[in-house]
């Protein structure tokens, strides 16, 4: 039902392009991107993060990611850490929501303890990296309000430059600028502005590949912090879609089975 509404809305907005406000066009771009990325079901993948500080010192994170698309709400995800070794087996379960803050549980294998953690954490760094929890969270349309800025080109590709404003008061940003590929409606670049509206970080997506002949996923996401000189290169590997994951693979009990 809601999908039909969205399709109708997008169609209507499309026909009345001339009458659209910047806000309406910004939302329409986000809705179309969301529509094109719906229906993937579930996926599993390997994720690694190479952290680098301003002196060039490096540190590696490796983790396994499982994710389940949820039709009426935000997606569910489970991240299990493999590296560094001292946090091996630590697992993070997230139930993202469209409007209200995500629910998150952290599993500490040494104590066998499952801890519900505060959603205020969203602006905090993920595993010491330049990615905040909110940068990696399921990017639901409802988590932002939008404003279309201009058409532009990025590396020879026509793009929409779309601005978005986080709804949550716990977000670390005032706004984000997103360069959206006009042909595929996928993000190519994001600029993050901190609470003082100063440019904080830039995220560049590289090596997009299409899965199931429909869904685009980037092999690399490079996040650079302009204020600290630190950077994080996030690399995705071994994507497999529709692996048969169920809700019962994303429970507090299932956290305790992760290895």
């Amino acid at each position: 039902m809601s999908k039909l509404l969205i399709t109708l809305l997008v169609a209507l907005l499309g026909f009345n392009a001339s009458a659209q406000t910047q806000e309406e066009k910004g939302l329409a771009i986000a809705l179309e991107a969301d529509r094109r990325d719906s229906g993937w079901g579930d996926f599993q993948a390997q994720m690694s993060m190479l952290l680098r500080n301003r002196h060039g010192e490096e540190s590696l994170r490796q983790m396994r990611v499982k994710s389940l698309e949820t039709v009426d709400d935000g997606d569910k995800s489970l991240i299990v850490f493999d590296e560094p070794k001292d946090v091996k087996g630590t697992a993070l379960l997230t139930f993202s929501h469209k409007v209200k803050d995500d629910d998150q549980w952290l599993y500490l294998p040494a104590l066998k303890r499952v801890k519900r953690i505060a959603s205020r954490n969203k602006s905090g760094p993920f595993m010491g990296s330049e990615f905040a929890f909110e940068d990696l969270a399921s990017q639901e349309v409802e988590k932002y309000t939008y404003k279309y800025i201009r058409d532009d080109e990025l590396d020879g590709k026509p793009v929409f430059v779309n601005e978005r404003y986080p709804v949550s008061k716990y977000s670390g940003y005032t706004r984000q600028l997103v360069w959206v590929d006009q042909a595929e409606y996928i993000p190519l670049k994001v600029e993050y502005y901190d609470r003082k509206n100063a440019l904080l970080k830039t995220l560049i997506f590289k090596g997009y590949r299409q899965y199931l002949d429909k869904y685009w996923r980037a092999d690399e996401m490079f996040m650079e912090n302009h204020q600290t000189g630190k950077s994080t290169l996030l690399t995705w590997k071994d994507y497999t879609f529709r692996t048969g994951l169920k809700d019962s693979d994303f429970t507090r009990n299932s956290l305790k089975r992760t290895r």
């Binding site: 952290l51 500080n53 010192e57 540190s59 590696l60 590296e83 560094p84 070794k85 001292d86 946090v87 091996k88 087996g89 803050d101 629910d103 104590l111 066998k112 303890r113 499952v114 801890k115 519900r116 953690i117 505060a118 959603s119 205020r120 954490n121 602006s123 905090g124 760094p125 595993m127 010491g128 716990y170 670390g172 169920k246 019962s248 429970t251 507090r252 009990n253 299932s254 089975r257 290895r259």
Partner: protein, 402 residues
Amino acid sequence: MRRLGKARHARWLVMLLPVLFSAPVVAWELAGNMAVEGRAFFQSPLDSRQYDSDYSISLEPEFSRTWDEDRQSLVFRPFVRLDGQDDERSHWDIRELQWIYAGDGWEARLGVGKVYWGVTEAVHLVDIINQTDLVENIDGEQKLGQPMAKLSLEKDWGTLDFFLLPGFRERTFPGEEGRLRSHPRVEQDLAEYESSTRQRHVDYALRWSHYIGEWDMGLAWFQGTGRDPLFRPGLGRKGELVLAPFYEQIDQASVDLQATLGEWLWKLEAIYRNGLEEDYYAFTGGFEYTRVGIMDTSADLGVIAELVVDERGDRAATAFNHDVFLGLRWTANDAQSLTVLAGAVVDWENGSTLLNVEASRRFGQAYLLSVQLRSWLHIDPEDLQYVFRQDDYLQVELARYF
């Protein structure tokens, strides 16, 4: 205790052998850590036989394998510590030896395992399944493996866990040379039981847990041998005065609750226990308030405040009977995962104070350095921590994870 524990473990091992060999040939995965630890005490001991400084090494590997499309798994996690000074602290244990079957919406576990219940930070009241490995650390967070059969059902209305716990594990206590012990010391070999079946008494537990929006909750029932011993005077091998642990039969109902409201976590744990001598309740609860990104850094600063109340008051078998815990948690969120937790537990009736600082950080990809500092101030002779008044210490551990 270790003798009996050994025999019991052997029986579980035999039961698990068929499972082990019926599993298709898949590689065992190895994880775990080895560590060197040093402890230095700042004051001279109450008993001249006790050491001033100590070192020890420990090894805790974990072997695991998963098969049947991840439905079945087997985990084996032995633990051993060799201590330079205290023979009782040199010990080994099977922390886990468990076969796990994960169904759709249910799960079965058979073997030796570890379970954690609860939400609070300072005192863990409702966590009752596993016995405390007290020689490891007086914070009570290190546990002995518990033989168990466990069935979990995950329903829309919450998760139900049924536990059958055959075989009781006795608490470990420091030896003659050990610090952080009572005077006279506790002699484990003199343990007595209310139940005539002693360590073979079969305990039961049932737990329901659920979450609704911002609320996580648990209700539990335990029936069997209480994990906290009472103490009676006895005579040691050399005819000296010692304390003999006495394990009573108890029924315990518990509730644990956490509300996760933005920057605030509100927590409560409460128990009602029916033992040999008296019924009593105890509860602990409070809040943790965290500011993220303090002073334009990526660090978090949290303030923790928790009350601990035991209905028995000064007659309680715990030092934490009318106490308040106040702590600060600083998390750097850096590549080395530097964290510091500093706090004090203060008895608001007699003023006895325990200061506690814990810090840790990673070196490279696999080394973790942990430091603990504990100090007792204004300890009242009536307080059960009076035996620790000369035991201020610093502990440094370097662990290599693999």
